[in-house]
Amino acid sequence: MTEHKQRILTQKEYQQMAKANEPKRPVLANCVRAFLVGGIICLIGQGITDFYIFCFGFTEKSAGNPTAATLIFLSVLLTSLGVYDHIAQWAGAGTAVPVTGFANSMASAALEHRTEGYVLGVGSNMFKLAGSVIVFGVFSAFVIALIRTLIAMIGGV
């Protein structure tokens, strides 16, 4: 009977069936949402930068760090209040790509593993999601720097 049943449907046939049944991912809508939310986050960032420049006398360059810190703080706050994941479900890449997404990945992992203690829980799990961003971020920065240096050495830019 087993042999008989396996002949009813091959893996390939079923995978095609499952694929046809799966709802199409709304790629265009997701892109528009990501653009809007990502843009809004950047706009808020710009507002914060201007605030630091005009109220506290930062220069355009030195206002970058406190701006990032403020955005990170807001992201961690929204994560702790359990709101960030709801926004992200709607916004997708819009909340994942900016610095707020990075902060959310660290804060959520830290919150999640708080019950296993500060060392084995928070400490060792905080970079569970953000770790690969750092590893590949640093590595790709190194490769780009290497390419740029090589071009400069052979008398390029």
Binding site: D85, G92, S108
Partner: protein, 336 residues
Amino acid sequence: MKQGSQSWVFTNCPVIVGAAVVGGPREARGPLAEDFDLLHDDLLFGEKTFEKAEKKLLEEACELAVQKANLQKQDIEFFIGGDLLDQIISSTFTGRTLSVPYLGVFGACSTSMESLALGALIVDSRFGGNVLCGTASHYAAVEKQYRYPTEYGSQKPDTAQWTVTGAGAVVLGPTGAGPRVVSATIGKIVDMGLKDPFNMGAAMAPAAVDTIAAHFQDLAASPSDYDLIITGDLGRYGHQLTLELFPKYHIDMPEEKYVDCGMMIYSREQPMRFAGGSGCACSAVVVFGHILNRMRRGELKKVLIVATGALLSPLSYQQKESIPCIAHAVAIEYTV
């Protein structure tokens, strides 16, 4: 006794003498809220961790089930339980609290029917009198086990499912009034090569249909012998695929006769519902609560419950393994 290739027909038909279901806040806002014996309005229930909260759910369900069976804890001869956490800790710790002979089983979300079938086997064979079967799942604990941190902002596709926070337990006895377990079909692992952990309904649907087909063949039965055929947690898309699969297996299934617990537990209006509910508790709370209540009211006489489980681990998924799935069917009859 065994009938056909993979089914048991119980000659003494063990009786469900007591059943209890416990749920969390999201379940309390769902359409089946009235069928719960106890509902919590937060996710921790006064415990320090979500894992402890899950254990508490199972302990409460077990305690209430024993109470509703008019029995004492010491009357329970065996406890069969399972859950989704590593080393099935919720069940083990509940076994510690109960301190009765314990069998831990793992069938992922098919645990409800796996434990019920095994419990029925013990009672039917007279190897035990009163057997307690139960399972639990907790949204936050299970997400932590299988996926990302709960507050991590990842966008889930529409085929994803929401893990039910709850627990269901039943006490099986040799005699008494109540719904009876008449037969069970033990499922085979079916793996159609699907790998997407955010579309478990599609992965599990072939396992469900395989077990249903085997059940009908072994017992020479058909959908007309049942008032309702219920799958565990296939969700909307899995339900649709199952309906498409029935004709291929030459099962003439009327659409209104086939329902899925994952689609019943939450209402369409609830946020982040996706394709429906999932988890060990999904089939347990819907069947041991809602369905048994409907049977007691006389609305349903005979049902076939097919609990489905996706037997993947986070590790096997990362190593690009496909998702092995299983489904166990148990037929319950209630004649007043």
